[in-house]
């Protein structure tokens, strides 16, 4: 089984975020980490490899700093890595990103392609799905469990309200992985040491010219404005008898605040 894991570097969850001058995204000078669902996707891929054998390859797109994500994945046990290296990838929307990834995948087929369920920064939850469409292969989202089944696989998907769905699907396929489905391993010091010598291939944006000719300008989605929500305080006195007041509160909690 040859598995590709698509991983993204995102701003650290507890980093204080500052908006860029245009107010369209955050400034570059924050700390970064691996997108959380992608870390679980990698863990799942490594477990599949341990169970069924094969190879785990990791891919990311982003500036030079994003290479850290790949090194960490290699240290944890991935066999090799591919880095689509360019600052412009930071501004790519899901479609553009999927096009870039698809161009690489068409040149080297995989049995399974994992992405995280969504990214912690943009949060589109679209890249994996669009990628499957571009490659013309099936996909399943919010995957919690993967088992071999005949020539294909059987996956468990998380639905709403505590429901699960089991889907049989052929290979190759794209799966978007849910956070928390396994226990993440540590990168051991030996793994970190060995990662230095594992193959890491770099692909420039120019090499992907035919797939994403306009770069970020080819985006279909655009962030108009990013802003920190204004904190406001509003005190309202509810009049009437206790019974009336209770009724009003319930109504407000249900329809205005929407907590019950």
């Amino acid at each position: 089984m040859k598995i590709l894991v698509c991983m993204k570097q995102v701003p650290q969850k507890d980093a204080p975020l500052k908006l860029n001058a245009g107010g369209t995204w955050i400034r570059e000078d924050v700390s970064y980490e691996v997108n959380e669902p992608d870390a679980y996707a990698l863990e799942e891929a490594l477990r599949q490899k341990e169970k069924n054998g094969g190879e785990v390859i990791v891919i990311t797109a982003g500036p030079g700093r994003a290479q850290q994500v790949l090194r960490e994945a290699l240290a944890k046990g991935a066999d090799r890595a591919i880095h689509l290296e360019d600052d412009a990838f930071v501004g790519f929307d899901a479609l553009n990103m999927a096009r870039a990834l698809a161009a690489v995948i068409k040149a080297e087929p995989f049995d399974l392609i994992f992405t995280g369920l969504q990214s912690d920064d943009y949060g589109y939850a679209q890249t994996g799905v669009i990628l499957a469409e571009l490659l013309g292969i099936p996909h399943a989202t919010i995957v919690m469990q993967i088992e071999s089944s005949g020539d294909g696989i059987r996956v468990k998907r998380e639905l709403e309200a505590g429901y699960f769905q089991f889907v049989e699907m052929p290979l190759p396929a794209v799966l978007t992985i849910q956070s928390g489905i396994n226990k993440l391993r540590y990168a051991t010091l030996l793994g970190i040491k060995q990662a230095k010598n594992k193959p890491l291939r770099k692909i420039t944006l120019a090499e992907l010219q035919s797939a994403v000719p306009a770069g970020a300008a080819g985006n279909l989605q655009k962030i108009e404005r990013l802003y920190v929500p204004q904190k406001t305080k509003n005190t309202e006195f509810i009049q009437g008898t206790p019974a009336e007041a209770a009724r009003t509160i319930v109504e407000k909690l249900r329809n205005e605040v929407r907590v019950i």
Binding site: D14, P16, Q67, A187, L189, L190, K193, A195
Partner: protein, 581 residues
């Protein structure tokens, strides 16, 4: 002290490689996920948890960093070793256990063991199957370890030694499987032995009730005709002192790194509390006096962090040149490390005193809550105190700093007397201005002047006391204080300079602010120490002239420390923790 240094020459945390960052991440995650949830159990002396954690740490490779690959180790650089020590030190109780095991427990064999001893013990130690410990101190000998009373007698058939005596303050003794024990063969020849826990005649005394690091095991070791095979002599008979002192020298820089890690944690907790606690209708983090504390805590951490990584960077550069294939590798490695013994002592003393300052202010920020066990400040305050005592008391280390320096000058290894003479010749003329037009010209002038003060007082003191200066402990310690502050001020400033070339805006300004706070406080300390030395070593007219010279050297452009502190504090509060940029 004898020449100026440029930013590109020093290693800083901003220079960590991708690999070193990943190592830091693994150690950090281990501390957060594995150590942190188990603190209450370890504090109540459930050492089965500590044992298990050492095994887990070993699985990740955290106990094999400084062991050669030939024995299953990772043979990594000292920078990585320091990064790990810093991260593990979030909780001092376990950090002590781990530090004793992977440092003084295991390194005597790495550096002094023979092939058979290395093959036999190192794999079990780095896997965490056996825990290591180091038994040097006794009830009546600590800093003067060579006065130990423990005795070793070779059996008539020459097959084993019988050890008798008692060792005290042995970290990990409660569960260690292997001890490096020092005893005198025939009552005279100071020697190290590798003693297994199940050796007949070895028993472990009860746990000590300690002020701090209660999450670590500390017991006495009782040797009653303890039978040790003759092949377990470590190093040479009668040469135990080489092991005893070197092992402490070799490990000292890591203690500095641990103090930095502990202080960062204390600051993080303090910031969090200051942002929550309200007084007079506002959070106490809004008050100038609280902000002043936070700023100075951050700047002290920044300074010791700069010193630690500058020092290990120097050590790694020296170790890089060592021929790994040679048969004398471990000896050469040891010598390369010894070259930086002064810096390691400086780091140990400065960082342990920094930590005590930080945890003290942390208690103060917590107020009454800092004095009760329910909040973290109280334990951390108690835990910090031991760092000024173990691995060589700070007093002994001060004597090492000044002693080594003067010894190297006397041997001609350091051109100290030439530098002193040059300074004395030029001192009565106009002071040469530092040729520097960079934005750091003021800071560079500070450092240049403190170096002159160092040479000046060393010159005056050596003239007065000559060789007998080694007996003048107060003078020696004051010289050490000046040397330490110079190293601190320079490390902090060079790092800020280096960062300013990579960063811009508030990020670069923050490190410069912290360096300036360090310069201002450092200059104060240096002036006091210099005054003390000059007043003891000269009198009447000579003293007045000397003090006038000192005044000229301490006359530097002052910084607006209140404004600087407010800026640093704002940054700390914004980040919620220590941040160099």
């Amino acid at each position: 002290m004898l020449q100026s240094c440029i930013p590109q020459e020093i290693f800083t945390p901003e220079d960590f490689t991708e690999q070193q960052q990943l190592i830091g991440k693994t150690a950090e995650e281990f501390a957060v996920n594995e150590i942190d949830p188990n603190i209450p159990k370890m504090e109540s002396k459930d050492f089965s948890v500590s044992r298990e954690l050492i095994r887990k740490a070993a699985d990740l490779g955290l106990c094999a960093v400084e062991v050669p690959e030939a024995y299953g180790g990772l043979e990594m650089d000292k920078i990585s070793a320091s990064i790990i020590a810093e991260r593990i030190a979030k909780y001092a109780g376990f950090a002590t256990t781990w530090g004793a095991h992977s440092g003084i427990g295991l390194l005597p064999i790495v550096y002094f063991g023979n092939e058979a001893q290395k093959r036999k013990y190192l794999p079990k130690l780095i896997s965490g199957e056996v825990i290591g410990a180091y038994a040097l101190s006794e009830a009546s000998s600590g800093s003067d370890a060579l006065n130990c009373r423990a005795r070793a007698q070779l059996s008539p058939d020459g097959k084993h030694y019988l050890l008798n005596g008692e060792k005290m303050w042995i970290t990990n003794a409660g569960f260690a499987g292997l001890f490096t024990v020092f005893a005198k063969v025939g009552g005279e020849r100071f020697t190290a032995f590798l003693v297994e826990r199940n050796s007949p005649g070895l028993s472990i005394g009860p746990e000590e009730h300690k002020m701090g690091i209660r999450g670590s095991s500390t017991c006495p070791l009782l040797l009653n005709d303890c039978k040790v095979p003759a092949e377990n002599v470590l190093g040479e008979i009668g040469k135990g002192h080489i092991i005893a002192f070197n092992i402490l020298n070799i490990g000292r820089f890591k203690l500095g790194a641990m103090c930095v890690g502990g202080a960062k944690e204390a600051l993080r907790n303090s910031v969090q509390y200051a942002k929550e606690r309200k007084a007079f209708g506002t959070v106490i983090a809004a008050f100038g006096l609280v902000r002043e504390k936070l700023a100075r805590m951050a700047a002290s951490i920044y300074t010791s962090e700069s010193m630690v990584y500058r020092t290990v960077g120097l050590m790694d550069a020296a170790l890089f040149a060592v021929d790994r294939a040679g048969s004398q590798t471990s000896i050469e490695v040891r010598k390369a490390i010894e070259e930086y013994a002064i810096e390691c002592s400086i780091v140990k003393v400065w960082a342990s005193e920094m930590l005590d300052y930080v945890v003290d202010e942390s208690v103060q920020i917590y107020g009454g809550y800092g004095f009760v066990e329910e909040y973290p400040a109280e334990r951390v305050y108690r835990d910090a105190r031991i760092n000024r005592i173990f691995e060589g008391t700070n007093e002994i280390n001060r004597l090492i700093i000044a002693g080594f320096l003067l010894k190297r000058a006397a041997n001609g290894e350091l051109p100290l007397s030439t530098a002193i003479k040059k300074f004395m010749d030029e001192v009565l003329g106009p002071l040469p201005l530092q040729e520097n037009t960079s934005s750091f010209a003021g800071e560079i002038q500070y450092i240049a002047n403190t170096k002159r003060i160092g040479l000046f007082v060393a010159g005056v003191a050596s003239q007065k006391y000559m060789q007998a200066i080694q007996e003048e402990q107060e003078v020696m310690a004051a010289i050490a204080d000046i040397v330490m502050e110079i190293y601190a001020m320079e490390s902090a400033t060079l790092r800020a300079q280096k960062m300013s070339s990579k960063l811009s805006g508030a990020a670069a300004a923050n490190s410069l602010d912290m360096a300036r706070l360090c310069l201002a406080h450092g200059m104060e300390k240096i002036e006091n120490s210099a005054r003390k030395i000059l007043s003891a070593a000269s009198e009447d007219d000579a003293l007045r002239t000397n003090l006038a010279i000192l005044r000229r050297l301490t006359k530097v452009e002052p910084f607006n420390l209140i404004a600087i502190s407010r800026q640093i504090a704002a940054r700390v509060l914004e980040r919620g923790q220590y941040a160099p940029n």
